[in-house]
């Protein structure tokens, strides 16, 4: 894991001081709420329906037990004893007092954490593959690249007042676990024909009210040129992205309006200039960062056998535990989606427990996933049963990873001032309808995603089944979408037709999945069947 040096620490400490100053000026009435808003937003502090919400950055979703315990401490001391893990691999706290925010940042800074650029029209937290460093299919660990980008984007003087927010994700495997094609910039580390490692650059993806899958604008950027290339991408956007309409201000609209080829041409032209400015760090800096992500001290000669005699453990093992590149180790996925729970929420006690397990059994590492779950990336197979028992006792052993009840949901109208409809109760009702694990397992991988408004924080466009809450004449109404994917086969879901009531949409989901059971061929997931047979049979099943 990356460790701060004196420079990183000084910058984060200065940020605490700066935000304390800004909050004091606001509390003293020296600046208006309108002037304060962009300042607090740049630090992840939103004014929501009931209170301030603070979003804390978890760069590329990686943290250690000490940092995880700090997240529990903040929930306990400043919030209502829980936190909410988000689709950008961050955590947010829903019940924060403005006057406490500087103290929270000071606490975070003691464990090399911050809330810098977790909102605002700037470059947001860099996201990545939650299995980085553990996955068998990766070309290299993507996180050194993500850390390089984190540092470059932090207080970037030119790109702090972009037309709109800007999200970057980095992966280094063919399987896309970070939805890179649905980001403003998606970076896929790969090898070119000469065997050199570099970056494939996707630009202009996104969800929101105008969802787009990002085109490739450059097949290969050498590592030594990455920052200057991304700088050129951002400069073209900062100069020419639309500022006349907030709904057309994301880079996807610029790329769509001028075309990917023309955008790529402008970037090349800008890059030819920018590359001469000496913006790219020396190779030694990349090596310094990469050394922090060297593989941990794995034990060798461990057995790969696991005692499966406890049937509940065996179910969890089959569903939530994934293959690790190191013999004798496994990747443990902790589902934050218990039936009846709030997707992504965890109590302070649960957060502490996950920290304890990481420290004792997981080489002190945890990850947050964009699907709002937690990962222990490096667990010895011999310890899996003990880990499962501890998780089970804490209500954290739901064996539903990637099944229909592993739902992504935004906070919705229960918390969010932008929402048109509630998301959480819909997620809970669907999870309850499909509570039988046998039934869920029979349905197989099925990614269901719910957003409470058109901004699509719940990724409904990318759900195999997506649900979008809208306000229809003062009544919550839910549209159903089918056929989306946020993975390497990225696609956007299609709206089935007229919307439903809260209970009606649960029934509609059930009719869709029953149709899938009827039509599926061997080994097909819901998405595969949908793609093979098309939209019509499902539409007919849903609307009769």
């Amino acid at each position: 894991m990356y460790k701060y040096d004196q420079y990183d620490q000084a910058i984060v400490d200065a940020r605490v001081d700066e935000f304390r100053d800004q909050v004091q000026r606001r509390l003293a009435g020296e600046i208006t709420e309108d002037q304060f808003k962009p300042l607090r937003l740049m630090n992840g502090l939103y004014l929501q329906l009931h209170a301030y919400m603070l979003r804390v950055a978890i760069p590329y979703g990686t943290l250690d037990s000490r940092q995880m315990r700090m997240l529990a401490h903040i929930a306990r001391k400043y919030d209502k004893d829980y936190g909410h893990f988000t689709t950008r691999q961050n955590i947010q706290y829903n019940w924060i007092k403005l006057e406490d925010a500087p103290d929270i940042l000071a606490d975070l800074a003691t464990v090399e954490m911050h809330a810098i650029q977790t909102s605002g029209n700037c470059i947001r937290n860099i996201s990545s593959d939650q299995f980085a460093g553990a996955a068998a299919d990766e070309v290299t660990d993507p996180r050194p690249w993500a850390e390089l980008l984190r540092q470059w984007s932090t207080f970037h003087p030119e790109f702090s007042y972009l037309p709109r927010k800007f999200k970057i994700a980095v992966i280094a495997a063919e399987e896309d676990r970070a939805a890179v094609k649905l980001h403003d910039i998606g970076i896929q580390i790969h090898r070119n024909a000469a065997g050199e490692v570099g970056a494939r650059i996707f630009v202009g993806g996104g969800m929101g009210r105008t969802p787009m899958v990002a085109p490739v604008i450059r097949e290969f950027v050498p590592i030594g040129d990455l920052l200057s290339y991304v700088e050129a991408c951002l400069r073209v956007y900062n100069r020419y992205g639309r500022r006349d309409n907030i709904y057309k201000a994301r880079i996807k609209i610029l790329v769509h309006e001028i075309g990917a080829e023309e955008y790529a041409r402008q970037v090349e032209e800008e890059w030819a200039h920018v590359k001469t400015l000496g913006l790219d760090p020396s190779p030694g800096e990349f090596e310094r960062i990469a050394a922090f992500f060297a593989p941990p001290a794995f034990e060798t000669g461990l057995a790969d056998t696991v005692d499966r005699s406890d049937p509940d453990f065996a179910l969890w093992l089959d569903q939530n535990v994934k293959a690790h590149k190191q013999p004798g180790y496994a990747i443990v996925n902790i589902s934050l989606k218990p039936v009846g729970g709030i997707p992504g929420d965890a109590s302070s006690a649960q957060i502490d427990l996950m920290a304890d397990l990481a420290e004792r059994y997981g080489l002190d590492e945890l990850r947050v996933t964009h699907a709002q779950n937690i990962v222990l990336p490096h667990v010895k197979k011999a310890d899996l049963y003990a880990v499962w028992q501890a998780l089970d006792a804490a209500g954290l052993a739901s064996a539903n990873l990637d099944l229909i009840s592993d739902i992504i949901a935004c906070p919705g109208l229960d918390y969010c001032s932008l929402a048109n409809a509630r998301s959480i109760p819909v997620a809970q009702k669907i999870a309850e309808r499909f509570a039988s694990l046998d039934r869920q397992r029979d349905l197989g991988e099925l990614k269901l995603k719910i957003s409470g408004c058109i901004n699509a924080c719940g990724h409904h466009h990318a759900g195999h089944i997506g649900i979008l809450g809208v306000d229809r004449k003062g009544v919550e109404n839910y549209q159903l979408l089918l056929g989306g994917s946020g993975a390497e086969d990225a696609s956007l879901g299609r709206i089935t037709g007229p919307g439903f009531s809260e209970d009606g949409v649960v029934d509609a989901v059930e009719r869709a999945v029953e149709k899938y059971r009827e039509l599926r061929e061997d080994g097909e997931r819901f998405l595969d069947t949908y793609r093979r047979v098309g939209f019509e049979p499902f539409k007919e099943a849903i609307y009769g």
């Binding site: 100053d21 003087p157 007042y161 400069r235 310094r288």
Partner: protein, 141 residues
């Protein structure tokens, strides 16, 4: 004389700034004002004759002027570069990094808050137009 914040030792330039269109059409002006949607690169062929370039910030959220400033500094412009309009104290450190050395804010800036803001960060992560060494260079210095 309006209220300027200047970070230059030379005397303020007295000639009023003309519009970009007027500048491109007249060969001898020494001061020009760029609106936020105008292309700073159009000035590059004639940078040598300019002593003052003023860049408009109609709203603090409109960040195009940051790119314009860097483009002008990267092209070698050494004269006065002024940010004018909705310029807030917390933006001035970023603007300084992009090459602005003069400010004409619509609303008065609290000098104490400005001093604190400008002195707060001892280190920066990226190279920009202000000549500061980024931490990646310091680490390997």
């Amino acid at each position: 004389m309006a209220d300027f914040l200047r970070f230059r030792d030379d005397a303020p330039h007295e000639e009023p700034a003309v519009t970009l269109d007027a500048f491109l059409g007249q060969s001898n002006a020494t001061a020009v004002r760029l609106e936020s949607d105008e292309d700073a690169r159009k000035l590059i062929p004639q940078l040598g004759q300019l002593a003052l370039i003023e860049i408009a910030f109609p709203k603090f959220r409109d960040g195009r002027g940051y790119s314009a400033a860097r483009i002008l500094r990267e092209a070698g412009y050494a004269g006065e570069l002024r940010a004018a309009g909705d310029v807030l104290v917390d933006q001035i450190p970023l603007m300084r990094r992009c090459g602005f050395d003069s400010f004409a804010p619509d609303a008065a800036i609290d000098p104490d808050a400005l001093t604190r803001a400008l002195g707060r960060y001892d280190h920066v992560y990226q190279k920009a137009a202000d000549g500061r060494s980024p931490v990646w260079a310091l680490r390997h210095g």
